[in-house]
């Protein structure tokens, strides 16, 4: 069949613009737009920003430093002078909690970020490739899971003492980041891989494959967004785990050295005097819980916002 040439008109760029009714926005812009409509998530986000500001600038407004001791005011309960009370060496608990926020928040951020990035990519590739590649990649995960974490930590501690003798082996937060970065992505990798194994056999993935979409595009554009729920839940779990692992690592001798202390450290130190001075546990524990609550609500909001099916 023949069509007359006149029926075909070349479209100009301008016409194309006019054809599309909805402005083209990216996946991420869309997600942000939807997140803004979620009040609980936004309150959480604002709280987290506020917390960051307090952690960064709060200590400068306090008349005390985190190390100022005063044996005349040991273990006092909350008062106007010391809103969070004082600890066993008579130090102001409020300023210590503010300093602690710096450590705990950065540890939480870094841990969830590495968990997210390494875990998702590794697990995604393993699950999508399947077969032999999957077998090898997952055995590596098993091996990393099996080697005792404490051995890693002591190795790192010794290594850091060799490399940075001046810092006494603690080597600040970097050593904590490395220690956590080594193992924290493992659960994420397994979760993502499990999801991908199942998702890649579903109709939409097969459809994408049939139309010849490149593999990486199928994985990162189609499969991983569909697994966002479990991914975000796992990433938010890694925050409290990181905060408490940090306390344990500091206790063993990695990380920032005393008298600076993180939330986890403040909480675990307070445990042995819980009966006599419950306020020492209450404030750091409260700080951790409220922060996590905020992160979780934000996480839930993000999950809804990032869910491709919710996209309109």
């Amino acid at each position: 069949m023949q069509y007359p040439k006149e029926l075909f008109v070349r479209l100009t760029e301008k016409d194309v613009q006019a054809e599309i009714i909805r402005p083209s926005i990216t996946y991420w812009q869309d997600a942000w737009r939807r997140l803004k409509k979620n009040p609980v998530a936004m309150i959480s986000l604002i709280f987290i920003v506020f917390l960051l500001l307090v952690a960064l600038f709060g200590p400068y407004f306090s008349p005390y430093s985190y190390s100022d001791q005063d044996f005349d005011r040991q273990n006092q309960g909350p008062s106007i002078e010391h809103p969070f009370g004082t600890d066993s060496l008579g130090r102001d608990q409020l300023v210590r909690v503010m300093y602690g926020a710096r450590i705990s928040l950065s540890v939480g951020f870094v841990a969830s970020l590495t968990t997210f990035i390494i875990g998702v990519i590794y697990g995604g590739i393993s699950g999508y490739a399947g077969g032999r590649v999957d077998n090898i990649m997952m055995r590596i995960v098993d091996i990393l899971y099996s080697i005792p974490f404490l051995l890693w930590v002591i190795m790192l501690m010794v290594l850091f003492r060799e490399i940075f003798p001046a810092t006494g082996g603690g080597a600040g937060l970097y050593s904590i980041f490395i220690a956590l970065g080594l193992v924290f992505w493992l659960p994420m990798a397994r979760i993502v891989r499990g999801q991908i194994l199942s998702l890649k056999e579903q109709e939409f993935a097969l459809a994408a494959q049939t139309i010849g979409a490149p593999k990486w595009k199928i994985l990162f554009r189609h499969l991983i967004p569909n697994a966002m729920g479990p991914i975000i839940v796992t990433a938010t779990l890694s925050i409290p785990e990181a905060i408490f692992s940090e306390a344990f690592l500091s206790f063993i001798g990695l990380g920032v050295s005393a008298p600076m202390a993180s939330w986890g450290m403040l909480a675990s130190d307070a445990l042995s005097s819980l009966r006599s001075f419950p306020h020492l546990l209450m404030f750091p524990a409260l700080a951790i819980s409220v922060t996590l609550l905020a992160f979780n609500f934000l996480g839930d909001g993000l999950q809804d916002a990032l869910d491709p099916r919710m996209r309109k």
């Binding site: 100022d68 273990n75 060496l89 501690m157 010794v158 001798g253 005393a258 445990l271």
Partner: protein
């Protein structure tokens, strides 16, 4: 859906009932008026072989089921036990112990001097490889045999007959009678060891003892003892039963004490002490030991004695014991702790007196003399301690004191896991390190000999010719008075050179129910419940 949640709920309730419902006998309550004593020994024993064991919990357990030639009393002094009497030769080199009549093991077999000879030689055998074998090195020929250089036949311990044991020493050892109360000197029931050389001590069924109690069960973190009817002094034993638990967590232990699940704890959480003092059940028992910091004196700035002294003098020890440790510890202004009596009955420490005091001005001028007036230009130094909440608090307090009193700003704190910490200390890769020493026996020598040049425990790398030669003299003399004089001089040298900065003398704060009576605390470690009873 509602159906589903309902099912889950029912399941859960059912499970709780099942668990809660089938309550059994928890084994700690006895019917009638049996007198039961429950103690928390604090940890699972590493081994129940007295010759191999090294720890204090083990020492306490062994004290109940074994006994040596002597037994230590409340003051830490030896009293005749399995031995009825002892003859000492004029040169103090030969001890002849006479055993009591009719001694038997807990299984009724007779216990003879030969058991002692065999047991001591076993403890020394290189194949057994016992850590504490060196506690027997005072015996002639013991070190050579233990080191694989001599023969077992040259170890000078001999059973002259069934009831007489003759021991020849390398040198006069004034505290030998206390030494034979130590667990490495216990006699062991040879047939049990021969039957199962490796595992004889791993089960209550195969352990044969000779002490006031016998072990009847050991499982799942709990040990039970009953009086040993075959014990020669069985009338002195009042308790009907003892239960030792092995709870390591201090807070848990305290809760168990407060809920009445145990009668005596092995320690208390330091921060709870002020509250516990009000209950009247907190007891501060003596413990022969010193908590101190050591300086690695080979490197600058710690190679300067004035720096070491300045740092030592600038520590407010009263504040540390009253506000930080809070367990009735005594501030240490010298090195050897209280609790060691001299031959004339006066305490070694009281006679020696204090060597320094808390003196900020003096400390400042010493620091200025060393070239750091007002702390200016003082290089950054590091305090090393092993992982523990208490060590951390003490280090934090001292860091602040040096800052306030001396103007030293850059003191960093480093904590290390135990094994790494020991290694760092051994290698001397530190500037200031926390350390402590608990006496092995009731004599200043146990504190002083470690500062000998090249001694494995001398992590400070301290070396002083006069000190070394005096130590040798102390070992060789049999004149008790002159010996004590020399040891005072040794301590003086130590405090002049200050390789060690004493902080406080240990105590042993524990919780004891008011109805527990008659227990004996041994200052070198361990508790003796032979004559303990519950007041009813």
């Amino acid at each position: 859906m509602r159906k589903f949640t309902f099912t889950v709920l029912i399941l859960l309730i059912g499970m709780t009932l099942l668990i809660g419902g089938c309550s059994g006998d928890d084994g700690t309550t006895d019917g009638g008026d049996a007198m039961v004593f429950r103690y928390n020994v604090g940890t699972e024993p590493e081994t129940m072989d007295p010759h191999l064991s090294t720890g204090i919990p083990e020492a306490t357990i062994m004290l109940q089921i074994y006994e040596g030639l002597t037994r230590l009393n409340e003051d830490g002094l030896p009293e005749m036990a399995l031995a009825e009497s002892v003859d000492v030769s004029d040169d103090s080199m030969v001890y002849t112990f006479h055993l009591r009549d009719g001694l038997v093991w807990s299984n009724g077999e007779s216990l003879t001097a030969e058991d002692f000879e065999k047991s001591w030689k076993r403890a020394l055998s290189p194949e057994l490889a016992a850590d504490y074998a060196y506690m027997l090195w005072y015996i002639k020929g013991a070190e050579a045999y233990n080191s694989g250089e001599g023969s077992v036949d040259d170890v000078m311990v001999k059973a002259l007959d069934e009831k007489t044991l003759e021991v020849t020493l390398e040198a006069p050892t004034s505290f030998f009678e206390s030494l034979v109360a130590f667990k490495t000197y216990y006699p062991l029931y040879q047939p049990a060891i021969e039957a199962d050389p490796e595992g004889w001590h791993t089960s209550a069924d195969t352990i044969v003892g000779n002490g006031p109690f016998k072990l009847v069960s050991w499982e799942q973190g709990k040990m039970e003892f009953v009086p040993n009817d075959n014990y020669y002094d069985a009338e002195a034993v009042v308790l009907d039963r003892m239960v030792f638990s092995m709870v390591e967590n201090e807070s848990t232990e305290l809760t168990m004490f407060e809920t009445g699940e145990i009668d005596m704890t092995h320690t208390v959480p330091g921060q709870e002490i002020p509250r516990l003092e009000e209950t009247g059940e907190l007891h501060i028992l003596p413990y022969l030991g010193t908590y101190y910091y050591i300086f690695q004196i080979e490197e600058s700035p710690m190679d300067d004695v004035n720096v070491r002294k300045a740092l030592t003098l600038a520590i407010d020890r009263e504040a540390i014991v009253n506000n930080v440790t809070q367990g009735g510890q005594l501030p240490a202004y010298a090195y050897v702790p209280y609790g060691i009596p001299e031959p004339d009955g006066v305490d070694f420490r009281e006679k020696g007196g204090d060597f320094f005091s808390y003196d900020i001005e003096e400390a400042q001028s010493l620091l200025a003399e060393a070239g750091y007036p007002g702390g200016e230009g003082f290089p950054s130094v590091e305090i090393l301690y092993n992982t523990s909440e208490m060590h951390k608090m003490i280090a934090e307090a001292i860091q602040e004191m040096w800052k306030q009193n001396l103007g030293i700003e850059n003191v960093t704190l480093t904590n290390q896991e135990w094994g790494v910490y020991l290694d760092t200390r051994d290698e001397g890769a530190f500037q200031i390190a926390r350390a402590g020493w608990i006496g092995d026996y009731l004599d200043p020598y146990t504190f002083l000999d470690m500062w000998m040049t090249g001694s494995g425990n001398n992590n400070s790398r301290f070396s002083n010719e006069e000190y070394d030669s005096l130590l040798k003299d102390v070992r060789m003399t049999d004149d008790e008075v002159a010996r004590m004089e020399m040891m005072h001089r040794l301590e003086e040298i130590l405090m002049e050179e200050m390789p060690v900065c004493p902080i406080y003398y240990y105590t042993d704060p524990i919780m004891i129910k008011d109805h527990v009576k008659g227990y004996v605390n041994i200052a070198t470690g361990g508790k003796d419940f032979k004559a303990a009873y519950i007041e009813q």
